[in-house]
Symmetry: C2
Subunit: 329 residues, 2 copies
Amino acid sequence: MSTFRRAFSTSKGIEFALERTLKPMWSDIQYTGISLPSGLAPAELIAILTAVTDDQPRVMTLRGGEALPSGPFESSHRSLQSGLRAWIEAQTGHPVGYLEQLYTFADKDRDPRSEEVTGSQRISISYLGLVREQDAAGARRPTWRSWYRYFPWEDHRGDHSPRGLPLITDRLTAWAAADALKIQRVDYLFGLKGKPWNEELVLQRYELMYEAGLVDTPEFGVPMAGDNRRILATGISRLRAKIKYSPVVFELLPESFTLLQLQRTVEALSGLHLHKPNFRRQIDQQELVEETGEMSSGTSGRPARLFRYRPAILEARMLSGVRLPLSRP
Amino acid sequence: MSTFRRAFSTSKGIEFALERTLKPMWSDIQYTGISLPSGLAPAELIAILTAVTDDQPRVMTLRGGEALPSGPFESSHRSLQSGLRAWIEAQTGHPVGYLEQLYTFADKDRDPRSEEVTGSQRISISYLGLVREQDAAGARRPTWRSWYRYFPWEDHRGDHSPRGLPLITDRLTAWAAADALKIQRVDYLFGLKGKPWNEELVLQRYELMYEAGLVDTPEFGVPMAGDNRRILATGISRLRAKIKYSPVVFELLPESFTLLQLQRTVEALSGLHLHKPNFRRQIDQQELVEETGEMSSGTSGRPARLFRYRPAILEARMLSGVRLPLSRP
DNA sequence: GCAGAATGTACTCGATGCGAGTATAAATGG
DNA sequence: CCATTTATACTCGCATCGAGTACATTCTGC
């Protein structure tokens, strides 16, 4: 298990675009490898903790679903990741299966308080962490909210277009007006004019809506404090990209599971319908799982075989990746 | 141009695995969204600046090729990326076409000096930046070294196996001894026993060699100060992954170029031979470039058409990605 | 008990992408 | 003018994957 975790703490993922304006302010930094301890800045860690329950991808929130959990980084901590892991486990009472760094930012306009308090700029380091379903359920009273509460337009599993999406695209098209480049961005990001919907572009869609001034409309998803919603979008983008080529999904599932459970989890994360036969074919081919010999029970319909994840496959997967067979309803 | 840069500061890439031991040290952090300014840590920026000259991928170094350029992050800076961009441009005298955050770390054992000086832990944020060939040549006296000076085993362009690689794999195999998991890692990472060579796994290979105690052997590549060589490996991994699905290569090329120049640049970065007809087919299909109408001159052989990059394609590429047709010599 | 719903499982077909190989054309330099 | 270097076009075949169809098994409710 520790071997698995180690091997896959190395991975790919979507990056965070946060540079809104390019206003250079450096000038006097020495061109040298020696760093002077002149710049002291408080550092903060922000966690996007995700679990999947009731076919909904969820994120741990505070303050009535308005904020992501965060805490200061203290000098006694040995490393960022190990410190954050211990902290989360102490708080939720359950282990974090997977933890990955997302992005570090230090925008002055990010949190007005930081200037008032310290007079300097806060550095924030965001992390994505995965927690198993049953662990999340037994956790110590945090509030787990569905992703789609904040990004309703990202859930394309239903037979129809997500609620509010047509209105959003109307508004965006109106905003783009005659600007060809903006029109192209809208069409591409939201799958208009015959272009395919790309589920990974969560952050880019959110930023487009931000530019168009739509993110403060409660109708278009619940806002969060500060830029927490943007950070969440980053995490979703990263995870949606990641499940395609790395077996992180299994960090969200119980020890043994049915293939449909696995599929539903992937569908919840990606916000897409998957083609069942093809999904099973892929899982088969990649030899990611093995039968436990047990059968599922308690559900209606024909009982399914139970499977467990095969960490033994380890290296081979890193090459091939876990592919997702998509399908439109 | 600015549109291009903006759109592609959002992207995927390889992540940094640096957690060597899991020794939790946090305990008393408040479970709250409010951060107290109790943890103050100096922050440092580290840049991996890359250019390609003479078919060699190069990195800007200091102190005789022993260190990567770095500087403290100061509270007057507006944002990490904009500050770093300005700083680099001031130092090299030329614009940085592309700048992307790599990883943030805060290992206590990373730089012993930081403890002595400040008594607290340094946070280091690493960046990958790309500079055009001609710009790099005219830069203000920094030392541009080939990547393969530090990672000779990563250059697989020649007809033969890279120098030293057979010896390395021998040593690794001996180190793995009878441990099945270690053997699997060695075989997979170094393409032994019929497994394919995966050029993206630069960091993983380096870390394996680190574990096996081979990185201090000068025969196996030149060492760098501290963990700078590991940071460089991270950057190479990220860039090698990135050129496959994002048009960053063009940030390393002059305004107009021949298709062979483009291919040679990609080959330099990936350390692989590419199949020329297939390479051109891919470039064609993706409509990434357009003819300038000019022809190359001054080289032996038949003159080639000159091409320029087409930023107009912008969004379409984000979907398709830039694929690389590989080939073995 | 039986109908129907819900789930599980197997197979086929066709388009596409891509690795690999081959052939030909055009310019340079001795 | 011939060897060399570079450019460019075309073909073949395998693997992958989206999409569709068919069928099997068990539960629930009447």
